[in-house]
């Protein structure tokens, strides 16, 4: 699997944005719908939005320089014990660097231009629960630091090795624990090993006609255990729920032993739910090895949709109403104008004159006839799932609400492209990095009544901070409301800027991201909706959950892992 993936960027080796010989943007590979397509307006958009130019290019190192990699220091006694278990391991530099990071901007930047100060000394690949038990025992025996590694898609610095860690760091890669152990059709549950990657899980369940319905944007790469460890959220949570709603049982190996429950029931009243110590523990307590998760029959019918609103305010009001009536489709998202224009720029070259004529007509209708300002309007994308009949009924209900808020149906195609973009957008950062553009996404959750204020203030704060920090070109600062709940919404921000003329772009970037997070908190938003805390957002934990709250978590850690074997230093 490691061979298929980029060593210094996001996703598959064969999939990336490039500028072809004609200077037009193109997405390579065949994995995505966008694959092999030319994006004629994209270059202009980049130039206009970032003031970037194709002439100014930075290039990443072509491959890892093995000489830079910190040496692997592993005590021989441990190696002997490890060999005795027959668990495969590696001390190879590339293997170790690959597991020394997640996908935060600064981590990718280091890969392209520098080297981490501390990386795992050794990687181990357990293939089952018992292997993990053995590894944890050995780690305790030899006093090693264990860092569980799943899909490696963390965006919270959770996978970075603490620089000051003196013990041998063992990266525990769960990727070989990837079997579905059983499927229980009567109770609609499946027991799965925690290392399975989201996409494989869905594909394998589909063979039996089932799905979990849990689809985080990273589902091609992220793992079940990772979802549990970070309290993940999926795009279709409106139907299937977030990870905490999906999980029926968790088995976790800790230095104290194995933690699990005595039964697999929908709910129990036996004190605070121990699952909630595990979910979101970010690898600080142990390794999740097996998870029993709810499954559903694969839906009969899926339909995409989209709605154009005259402005963001009306769009948010519509989403709020949809949430109020509890009729949200599997997914409903609202992107602001900047992101709408961005999506527009990623429109592939149209195949026929007819489609281009139709596009023109649509545009004319919306902007001229309906009077929408193309620089103000915004778009909601929808995904419906279920019985065909119910979907159509549901669709009508949602579009009726949208009409009340001035929304105009804008077709299935736009909707589908919106969701496809979610998957390819992560590839864009690598393109940007080649042209002095750095960027990242971050997220929060916020009560409904503060959504608009938070979106406006955070975007404005980013623009302000960029200006103050000497960023020469106004940044790309955009958001979407990406999940709706009864009491609030999840908001997702993208933020990128052209860093030419700035000597320490990563530092500047981090200062701005930090300011943006302060702004979110001041506007009544949460520290994180689903990315987690890791090491990136630790400094705000105290004010997020109070001193006592933090103490509660600490005391759990102290009991479960008194010698800090799981020493990734996340969260607390």
């Amino acid at each position: 699997r490691q061979e298929l993936l980029k060593w210094n960027g996001w996703g598959y080796n064969d999939s990336k944005f490039i500028f072809n010989k004609k200077g037009q943007a193109e997405f390579t590979g065949k994995r995505y719908r966008l694959g092999g397509m030319v994006l004629p307006t994209f270059k202009e958009w980049i130039e206009k939005t970032f003031g970037a130019s194709l002439e100014h290019k930075t290039t990443s190192r072509a491959s890892l320089n093995v000489n830079d990699v910190p040496p692997s220091i592993v005590n021989e006694e441990f190696l002997q014990d490890l060999r005795a278990t027959n668990i495969s391991y590696s001390q190879d530099a590339e293997d170790r660097v690959f597991r020394a990071h997640g996908h935060c901007l600064h981590e990718i930047f280091v890969l392209r231009e520098g080297m981490f100060k501390r990386i795992p000394d050794i990687v181990v690949w357990p293939v089952c629960h018992e292997d993990v038990v053995k590894i944890v025992e050995l780690a305790c025996k030899h006093n090693l630091c264990l860092i569980p590694f799943g899909g490696g898609t963390s965006v919270s610095s959770a996978l970075e090795c603490p620089e000051e860690e003196k013990r041998t760091i063992v990266s525990l890669d769960t990727s070989q624990m990837n079997r579905i152990l059983w499927i229980d059709e009567k109770n609609l549950t499946a027991c799965v090993e925690a290392g399975i990657v989201g996409q494989d899980l869905e594909n394998q369940l589909a063979e039996s006609g089932f799905c979990t319905g849990h689809e985080p944007d990273s589902m091609e790469f992220s793992s079940l255990g990772g979802w549990v460890a970070t309290r993940a959220s999926g795009m279709k949570k409106n139907i299937y729920g977030n990870i905490e709603d999906l999980v029926i049982h968790i088995k976790m190996v800790t230095p104290r032993g194995i933690v699990e429950k005595n039964c697999q029931v929908p709910r129990m009243s036996t004190g605070p739910d121990i699952h909630h110590f595990i979910m979101g523990s970010e690898g600080t307590l142990g390794v999740v090895t097996e998870v029993t998760i709810k499954i559903r029959p694969v839906p009969e019918y899926q339909k995409y949709g989209s709605v154009v609103f005259p402005n963001f305010e009306r769009g948010v009001a519509c989403l709020r109403e949809v949430a109020k009536q509890r009729c949200a489709p599997a997914s409903i998202r609202l992107v602001d104008n900047a992101q709408f224009q961005f999506g527009h720029a990623l429109k592939p070259q149209v195949a026929s004159i007819f489609t281009s004529f139709l596009d023109g007509l649509k545009k004319f209708y919306i902007t001229k006839f309906k009077g929408f300002d193309p620089n103000v309007l915004c778009v909601a994308t929808l995904l419906f799932e279920g019985d065909r009949e119910k979907v159509l009924q549901h669709e009508k209900q949602v579009y009726d609400i949208a009409t009340k808020f001035g929304g105009l149906a804008a077709g299935e195609d736009n909707g589908q492209r919106g969701y496809m973009l979610t998957f390819v957008i992560a590839y864009l950062r690598d393109l940007g990095l080649d042209y002095y553009v750095i960027g990242e996404s971050f997220e929060t959750s916020v009560p409904w009544d503060r959504v608009l204020d938070l979106c406006r203030n955070v975007k404005e704060r980013i623009v302000r901070e960029c200006k103050e920090k000497g960023v020469q070109f106004a940044p790309f600062s955009t958001c979407r409301v990406t999940q709706t709940y009864d009491a609030g919404a999840c908001v997702y921000f993208y933020f990128a800027f052209n860093y030419r003329g700035i000597s320490d772009p990563i530092h500047v970037y981090e200062q701005i991201e930090r300011a943006a997070r302060e702004e979110i908190l001041a506007n009544g938003g949460s520290l994180s909706h689903h990315h987690g805390v890791g090491k990136l957002r630790k400094r705000w934990m105290k004010e997020s959950i109070s001193d006592v709250g933090l103490g509660m978590l600490r005391s759990v850690k102290e009991y479960v892992d008194p010698n800090n074997i799981f020493g990734n230093k996340n969260l607390l």
């Binding site: 204020d453 406006r456 001041a522």
Partner: protein, 670 residues
């Protein structure tokens, strides 16, 4: 962290105090005198607006206020408590809003533009404005909601400011004014020019408060127009900046605290009058002669004023101050996160303290840019040399004071080429009702100023002195820090820094309602005072000591004489409280009581402190004692009552007395 950021807050203020670079002034009347007022009134008026503004009519704002969660919440609460139908209370809220709401119409604005042009040209020689300030304001208005915070010396203030914004094609402000409710026609006209009205007191009325606050906040959030109000709350009758009121300021700051707006600009504006329109009215009022109620007919009578001249007005539009910048690091950022934002919530102590600090900061910024005329300097000299002063000596001392004032950072309007004699002479001419030249001597105009029943010499003299003091008062806040050091030096008769500082600190507390001090930075104020005294070579300081230089004793005694009326006045008032009062009293009883007490002393010649007759000083002294805990203030159904703690007052008095130099027989005899 709190402490650090707090001191940063103060530091930035200090820095601004020392690095003074002020803008140039332009006379806006000049063009009015050259071109048609009618054409000016009918000019194309298309002011720049806030970038986030969604245009709406005044009535749309009113209904938005009525429908707002905030107001609806209070209506429901009151309905529940009083057992009334919400409709009735809603009705009441509508009436409140109608009484209060503005109804800005361009027609009325044009009418005002025309008539005010005529009137202002008649009354004033020049109206000078810093154009750079106007340009800054123009940019600020587009960026964020703007709050205009002018000083308040006269009714002319807000007319002039609106007139000014119209002249510069800026959005007319909506004004929170507590006046003119009795004047039907003018009131309606003002309403159409954008004024909205608040009742002077609505202490217990929750509905009124809710409607008013929401009305202000709605206009602010929407960026509808700049909001204007007076931090001082009312016109200062003494031309000395009044201590700030916090209510309105905390209302306009709230949308930022709740992050309903990204930022809010606060713009301090200093309006300085060479001669204040209401000067004699104020003096009468301070002496307890009731002022005529504001009424349209009253205003018509005031027409005779039109034949008089009132010199120059200077309007300095200060640098817009970003509330976000002020708050950064100061405010715990989530005080409003755990309660729905529409619920009325008492601000936390943190926030209250912050609001108070901002209020003081804004007033200090106003003071910093107040323009002082030569007459202000002359009046300060004259008051120390009564009953008569040699004209040449007055000129000489005025010129000397000019230098000192500039050293202390005062902003003097004294053209480079104007000789001192002309400057003082023109001041005397403009203020001939206060003082005049008789046989080469300048004397107060304390005889036959106006006909009336009050024939007593003391009263006439008090009137003249209070009017004259109105001008000297304009210097006081610039001089107060070095002067209180000077007073402390004389009172302690010690050179030990520690002792002088503790005396300074005591005086600063006593005078905390009289002069404007940034809360809680006594030591900084002391250091600034010492620094300024060193700067003009009045004192020398070592690690432990400070002492006047040879040349400096003149300055030190001038400075302490400048503040002597306050020291003596407060002593008289405290004495009254300690000797004459046995039980509890109301404010209504206090002012006449102390006035009679002082009046008798003056008649007997036992004191020369005429300024102690000023009700302003009396109230300030009482407020200071309340703050020091020597007087207890209790809220009763019909206002406040006070209880004196004799012992505490005596102690304060002793501290005052024990430090009074022996050559103060007046105080000693009392």
């Amino acid at each position: 962290l709190e402490v650090v950021s707090h001191s940063l807050f103060v530091c930035s203020q200090q820095k601004e105090l020392t690095s003074k670079k002020r803008d140039e002034f332009e006379d806006i009347l000049e063009e009015r005198r050259l071109s048609s007022d009618l054409r000016y009134a009918m000019k194309c008026y298309a002011p720049v607006i806030y970038k986030g503004l969604s245009p709406c009519k005044p009535n749309a704002i009113k209904s938005a206020v009525l429908q707002s969660e905030q107001v609806q919440y209070v209506i429901k609460q009151l309905a529940k408590e009083m057992g009334e139908s919400p409709d009735i209370i809603q009705e009441e809220a509508t009436e409140i809003l109608d009484e209060m709401g503005h109804n800005m119409q361009l027609g009325a604005v044009r009418f005002f533009a025309f008539t005010l042009s005529k009137i202002f040209k008649q009354l004033f020689q020049r109206v000078c404005v810093n154009e750079e300030g106007m340009q800054r304001l123009q940019r600020a208005i587009q960026e964020h909601p703007v709050v205009l915070l002018p000083s308040h010396r006269s009714y002319v203030d807000f007319l002039m400011l609106s007139y000014l914004l119209y002249t510069y094609d800026l959005a007319l402000p909506v004004i929170a004014a507590g006046i003119f409710l009795g004047m039907k026609i003018i009131g309606e006209l003002l309403r159409r020019a954008g004024a909205f009205f608040m009742r002077r007191s609505f202490g217990g009325n929750r509905l009124y408060w809710a409607v008013f606050a929401e009305y202000v906040k709605t206009m602010l959030r929407s960026g509808y127009a700049p909001i204007e109000f007076f931090l001082e709350g009312t016109r200062s009758r003494t031309a000395k900046t009044l201590t700030p009121k916090f209510g309105l300021l905390s209302i306009v700051m709230e949308p930022f605290f709740k992050r309903e707006v990204f930022d809010t600009y606060l713009v301090p504006i200093s309006i300085s009058y060479e001669r204040i329109l209401e000067e004699s009215l104020y003096a009468y009022e301070l002496l307890g002669v009731p002022k005529p109620k504001e009424s349209t007919s009253g205003l018509l009578k005031a027409r005779k004023i039109l034949s008089d001249s009132f010199g120059t007005i200077h309007i300095y539009i200060g640098q817009p101050v970003s509330l976000r910048t002020l708050a950064s690091g100061r405010i715990n950022r989530c005080p409003y996160n755990l309660v729905p934002r529409h619920l009325p919530q008492k601000p936390s102590e943190d926030i209250q303290e912050f609001v108070s600090d901002v209020a003081y900061k804004m007033e200090l910024l106003q003071i910093e840019n107040m323009v002082l005329s030569p007459w202000v300097l002359a009046a300060a000299v004259l008051l120390q040399n009564l009953p008569a002063m040699d004209f040449e000596l007055l000129i000489e001392k005025t010129l000397w004071l000019k230098g000192l004032t500039q050293t202390f950072g005062g902003f003097i309007d004294w053209p480079d080429n104007l000789c001192a004699k002309k400057a003082v002479m023109s001041g005397l001419t403009l203020h001939s009702n206060i003082a005049r030249l008789v046989d080469g001597h300048v004397v107060l105009n304390d005889k036959g100023m106006e006909d009336g029943a009050v024939g007593k010499i003391v009263f006439k003299r008090a009137l003249a002195i209070l009017m004259c003091a109105t001008y000297r008062n304009q210097l006081l806040n610039v001089f107060v820090r070095p002067s209180l050091v000077a007073v402390a030096l004389q009172m302690t008769r010690s050179f030990r820094k520690e002792e002088v500082y503790s005396c300074f600190s005591f005086l600063r507390d006593i005078f905390s309602d009289e002069f404007i001090f940034f809360p809680g930075i006594s030591l900084k104020d002391f250091e600034e005072g010492c620094f300024l005294l060193t700067k003009c070579d009045a004192i020398q300081t070592t690690q432990q000591e400070l002492y006047p230089t040879d040349k400096g004793s003149v300055i030190v005694s001038f400075l302490s004489a400048m503040f002597r009326p306050f020291v003596e006045g407060y002593q008289l008032i405290f004495r009254y409280l300690s000797k004459e009062i046995k039980e509890s009293f109301t404010e209504k009883q206090f002012v006449p009581g102390v006035r009679n007490f002082v009046f008798q002393l003056l008649e007997k010649g036992n004191t020369q402190c005429y300024e102690a007759l000023s009700s302003d000083m009396q109230k300030n002294a009482l407020a200071a004692l309340v703050q020091l805990g020597a007087v207890k203030k209790k809220k009763m159904s019909n206002g406040f009552t006070y209880n004196v703690n004799q012992e505490a007052v005596n102690k304060i008095l002793d501290m005052f007395d024990a430090r009074i130099p022996v050559q103060k027989p007046v105080a000693a005899r009392l």
